[in-house]
Symmetry: C2
Subunit: 537 residues, 2 copies
Amino acid sequence: MDVTTDNFQDVLKELKSLIDKCDFISIDCEFTGLDEAPATAIGTLRSASSGMANYTGMTAEEELQSRYEKIKASTMFLVVQVGICVFTWNAQTRSFIATPYNFYVFPREFKGLDRRFLCQAKCMSFLSSNHMDFNKLIKSGISYLNKQEEEYLREGITTKETEFIAGIRETIAEFLADETRSILILPQYDSYHRMLIHRDLSETFDDCFKKENVTVEREVCIKLQKNERTSSLGQTKAKIVESISNMAQKVEDKQIQAAIGFRHVIDHISSSKKLVVGHNMLLDMAQIEAQFCRDLPASCEEFKKNLHERFPLIVDTKSITSSDHPSFGLSFSGGTRLDAVFRTVMHDPFKKPIISLQDGCDKYKNNAQLHEAGYDAYMTGFVFLRTAQQIVMKSGSPSNSPQGKSSTGLTPRLKDLGVSCSRPIDVMIETLRMEGLLNKLYIMGGHSFHSLSLDDGGDEKMETCQKDGSNMGQMAVNSEYPQDSVNGNNGKGLWQIATSRSRNGKFHARDSRRPRQDSFEVNHAHKGQEKRPRMSV
Amino acid sequence: MDVTTDNFQDVLKELKSLIDKCDFISIDCEFTGLDEAPATAIGTLRSASSGMANYTGMTAEEELQSRYEKIKASTMFLVVQVGICVFTWNAQTRSFIATPYNFYVFPREFKGLDRRFLCQAKCMSFLSSNHMDFNKLIKSGISYLNKQEEEYLREGITTKETEFIAGIRETIAEFLADETRSILILPQYDSYHRMLIHRDLSETFDDCFKKENVTVEREVCIKLQKNERTSSLGQTKAKIVESISNMAQKVEDKQIQAAIGFRHVIDHISSSKKLVVGHNMLLDMAQIEAQFCRDLPASCEEFKKNLHERFPLIVDTKSITSSDHPSFGLSFSGGTRLDAVFRTVMHDPFKKPIISLQDGCDKYKNNAQLHEAGYDAYMTGFVFLRTAQQIVMKSGSPSNSPQGKSSTGLTPRLKDLGVSCSRPIDVMIETLRMEGLLNKLYIMGGHSFHSLSLDDGGDEKMETCQKDGSNMGQMAVNSEYPQDSVNGNNGKGLWQIATSRSRNGKFHARDSRRPRQDSFEVNHAHKGQEKRPRMSV
């Protein structure tokens, strides 16, 4: 369903209740641009290439920081569509119900806050060719204030207008407190200032006295007259001033709450603590943080901390499908683009669980709307369920998996570890946690795959998987798996266990600090590239 | 008429011929933003106010440079509509015919050149509320290369693709020069490189041999076969290499010519040397320079020089209508916004000349399309003709004015000065030159009016007219009028002569270096403001 200012209030109510009951939320954003161009000889904002970054000679930490800074620069572009797809397990039908929403979001000027944002010509053409309705976007896109902007406004900005209105309120308070007067004629003002007064009388004073324009010595003035409602403001000047101040505060709160707009959706997802799924979602998460929360911090460490606090459970399906997890075989050897993996998980061995679109969400039933955020979010959640289920099946968790008994005959690992899962989603989350695929964000590369672990607290900040030209290859794990901070499981080395198992059917506990290539071979030869390849973010 | 990629080629041909025969061209642009926000506590690209500039303590030159730097920063926003209205004098009907065009312009990625540009939320909403069709803009906007981008491309960018194609051409040249061979099978390449080869064979070689994909050892290869057309490339290797090089050059020229797109319009206007008219046009001219020509230079002096070279005759109707020229009386005391002055010049005393829309340009006949660039350009040209005519009437140039005899009884000044004008537009241009209103760009201010003289070569770079709160006031001319470079007239002090004359009906030659307030009084008292007020650009 497309969501704009026209139906936002209704959808927000419905969506909040849906999120409270759901299993997880998948998310996708569309942007006005991706890579900020480096300054070149032919103009600050043009570039002849996106500039291949060279990370040679950097430590892993420096490289990660450098990649992060590129992501941070990209937040000067705007998010124009946010797809949110809510997935809920239906125990009766033993299937997941998907409810996708396609939000058009566009900032509007509010009390002097007026955003500037970047666009990239190629990305705008790309959106256009994928049927983005820019007229709808700019006319009816849902506006928002991020946390930083809200804080700024609540600090109480003083403008000429607010000072002027404060003076008028003072005059009115004196008039109301003076029992001898029933009529106040304000001094003459120009039409703009009369408009400001009339607006404040309507909004703050809720029209609680009679007001009209009168002509005094050929100049228009505003005349106020006490009536029966006036006394509700109080009798003494102090009480009246307090009433006015309270009313003004209420009006401002209401205006700010309305202006927060789309951020209510993000805040509700965050406070639900539900799993958030994306495909190649690092930029999406960075943009959600920057546009709807606050400017990104200078350091990547700080960013990871903030993100983990806001969304404690994250799964990146790009990380999953790029992981060469043994349960996938060669399924994703053809590529891990969202549309490709979505097609792949429609077929063997990815047949379960059953996923249905909510009744009424017919837009995507028979129409692939690639690169519309709502549809991409739906595909992403779909891919998550199918791949997670496949990993669960292979990892074995017979009693709790959506499919009931696993046919793999493997040890029911979750039970072994004393994890109790009442819903299929919990089985999936715990399995992915054990497999080292929870809270791991994919970092784009050319022939390489980096992932950013939000759970990391140790020395190494990034995992590198180096691919050969055919997009397959050998994994080099540089990081260790620290103590899991959420449920106390020690996830160390579980990934290695799982993959080792795939070769010989048994588990081999091993030290994950040892380079992965020593213990893990896939069916593509290691082609001997450098350990840290060049790649662009 | 709206112009997009769909009809651009036809319109370009028609417009070029129209420009060659026209009297002058009026111009207007719409932008994605106006003022670049200063970095603030709440984010690099957001601002709580547009930031009132404070020029206190600056010399006139420093102030001008500072204002220019703000304009230069604004060129990070994009021009999205260019209105061009061509006005031609019809001697039979003794009227001007206006032909307006409304160009949608939008940059597209070309050979790796991919623009980044800024947008301002409030301006986007403004355009939307004024019916800008953003879908049309991004889908069908006419693309362009500016001069700088063209030069960059012509320098011969070397990419992996161009290197690859150069190697293929070399192989083909050897094959063609070898009489013993009739078939060439190129090595196997992946589908992307095969696509590059096929494209080059079609474009550069114009399919002048038979080509097909063949399977060699289960790999797809491209097979070339000589045919009767092959010999046209030459017999010796040297001759063949030369032919290929020539053909490749032609193809590239053609592609670049097509990619120049909308810039052909700007280039044609520039080379016509015709008068260009705008309303408050400094930003328009700066944007035209930056988007379609080259990045703005660091210094304002250099910018003025470049602009004057590109458009030797410029009239800013905002400068005219803000000038308090005695021939206007109080006509523009209500304000000098384009829509306001357009309404004003519909009535007395601005009744002449007659201006008609070209047959077929019905879009604007009965519909005010405010803030659509084509309509704004039309209004601007209209305002120019009516105000210029009014000045001509009052300055007196009976024999050549469009109205025939002037009824003012003033000295026919142009004749006195030995200027021969065969067309009404020449009378207007020469009169405005004498009045000091040619090549004077308005610089926006709060209660003030600065103008930027392109003809200046002397010490002072800017004129300041300080206005009181009612937008009227006293002119302080700080600049001198240097030797006129175009026709040898010495324009010095003519403005003062004309305005002095308005008081007593006679000319008083005076030294323009003397402050204007010494000799010129208008019917509004000088209110004694500081000489250099604060204002925002």
